[in-house]
């Protein structure tokens, strides 16, 4: 009886952990972001919320909307 409840608890904990990881991964993937690649091979990644990213996300949203009009 005791081992059964332990197993149930373990499975619930493992399932929650996997669910959290998957949810966070999906949420991270859905975040709006900008990747800039320079001629010297360097790269900058800007995520939504930062003023630099917002400066570029606006024209990008406009571009996507125009293309799909």
């Amino acid at each position: 009886m005791r081992s059964r409840s332990f197993l149930t608890g373990f499975l619930l904990a493992a399932g929650s952990a996997v669910g959290t990881v998957l949810y966070r991964r999906r949420a991270a993937r859905r975040r709006e972001s900008v990747q800039l690649y320079f001629g010297d091979g360097s790269m900058i990644s800007l995520t939504e919320g930062s003023p630099e990213a917002e400066h570029l996300l606006g024209p990008a949203r406009e571009l996507l909307a125009t293309a799909r009009r």
Binding site: R29, R30, R31, E32, S33, V34, Q35, L36, Y37, F38, G39, D40, S42, I44, L46, E52, H55, L56, L57, P59, A60, R61, E62, L63, L64, T66, A67, R68, R69
Partner: protein, 141 residues
């Protein structure tokens, strides 16, 4: 001013959208924003080119003064925007959500390079005018 063959550019874009199922629309333009070819109508193509130029200029402000942005991608909730520059030519494209960025960049660069090669192809030289040379010889003799 770019000397471009509109047919070749349009064909290159048609090939691009055929090869890549992720690319929904694309426009090729020069650094001044003059549209060379597009998969959308002229009015939207002009708007896309000017907005992509605005995006590119905004991106340049993020790096050091001597650094040039050669490509960028913007991930949005309902799709992505890609811009690639090769010399004087720029290509901007929109894609479906969660595209394979590496593949899209590869396809866009291939398209731009293809256009460059198309324009670098030497025109076939005309054979020397035999008749004119013969006439000249006849006149001299």
């Amino acid at each position: 001013m770019l000397a471009s063959d509109p047919m070749a550019t349009a064909q290159a874009l048609a090939d691009l959208t055929e090869i890549s199922s992720q690319i929904q629309s694309a426009v090729v333009f020069d650094r001044e924003g003059t549209v060379l070819a597009s998969t959308v109508d002229d009015e939207r193509a002009g708007l896309l080119a000017s907005t992509a130029l605005e995006l590119l200029r905004g991106a340049e402000e993020q790096g050091a003064a001597d650094k040039e942005v050669v490509q960028l991608d913007v991930t949005l909730q309902d799709g992505s925007v890609f811009v690639v520059r090769d010399g004087d030519r720029v290509i901007a494209a929109t894609t479906t959500t969660e595209p394979t960025a590496g593949l899209v960049f590869y396809d866009l660069k291939s398209c731009l390079r293809g256009l460059g090669q198309e324009q670098e192809k030497p025109k076939p030289k005309r054979a020397p005018a035999k008749r004119a040379a013969k006439k000249k010889n006849d006149a001299e003799s």
